[in-house]
Symmetry: C2
Subunit: 205 residues, 2 copies
Amino acid sequence: MLYPSKLIEDAVNEISKLPGIGKKTALRLALHLLKQEESTTDKLSTALVNLRKESKYCKICHIISDSEDCTCESARKDASILCVVEDTPDVIAIQNTAQFSGYFHVLGGIISPMEGIGPGELNIQSLLDRVKKSSGLIKEVILALSPTMEGDTTSFYIAKKLKPFSIKITTIARGIPIGGELEYTDEITLGRSIVQRLIYDTGND
Amino acid sequence: MLYPSKLIEDAVNEISKLPGIGKKTALRLALHLLKQEESTTDKLSTALVNLRKESKYCKICHIISDSEDCTCESARKDASILCVVEDTPDVIAIQNTAQFSGYFHVLGGIISPMEGIGPGELNIQSLLDRVKKSSGLIKEVILALSPTMEGDTTSFYIAKKLKPFSIKITTIARGIPIGGELEYTDEITLGRSIVQRLIYDTGND
């Protein structure tokens, strides 16, 4: 593409390095910024630089945090349940449900031989250390990984490693999403949801 | 949404101010930058700040440029044709066709009473001045605006203003896009393309 100015070309090249953003979208974003106050661009660029430079990862749970000691083990939380997730967006997603009050443990990825990610690249050893160090305080580990080939492999690997601690190992429920149409659900999900059916709760009457 | 850190929250807020980018995409982009080298973020933020701070608009054609004297009137170009467009992306799009070697004139928008943009907000007077000052050098003005209600209104307004100069006023062809299916073309486009049919070129034989 021919750009009318070197400044635009540079900006488009840098913006289009972001995932899912092509040259056309990058140009649209660059022209948008040109039409805004200078402070808009300044704030954006400062926020990005600060994010990259100053973000820390908690030494315990590996969540991204403003400091190396995050609030992951605050007293308000339920110390007996540990939820293992792939990455930070999953922590945010689960927190937003307001249905979980335990601790998190971020793996920083999932086992993927295709991408050359083995158990050693993930925060699995630190998970085992954490469970060990809790000396019985952690009673349950929830494996909250995506129900994909890689997610299932990782869950299986971790579950095996956790077996010696004889704690409760659970996984998030798989089934038909709320609001989903039974007719259009894939066979595997539907099949599983029948095999792993739940007792219907008729309430207290 | 609850974010694990203030730095992420700030970055997500700033990124999601960009058009077409919501909080979820913003979070994805922020987390992507966190996983890249620090230089990636630095280059991106520098390019954006430089773009906004140092971009100039050419005093003649109003294209965004690195300096106030852009190369819009370079000797290589055909000085007799002036192509009027809405904004910079249109210049880039037309340049990329490699089918136009004349000059450009960027309006900086189109007449839109809904958004309170009248002829006074656009670079229309400078277009008339430019045509006048050329003293006959500019022989044709192509109105290359989108075939929308606003685009057509703007074209009509400019054409009326240019009438006294008795130069050729043209507009880009409207018709069925190359590769388009006749069957699925809207009635208005198809109707126009029949009314404004072209002589079939059988080549020189």
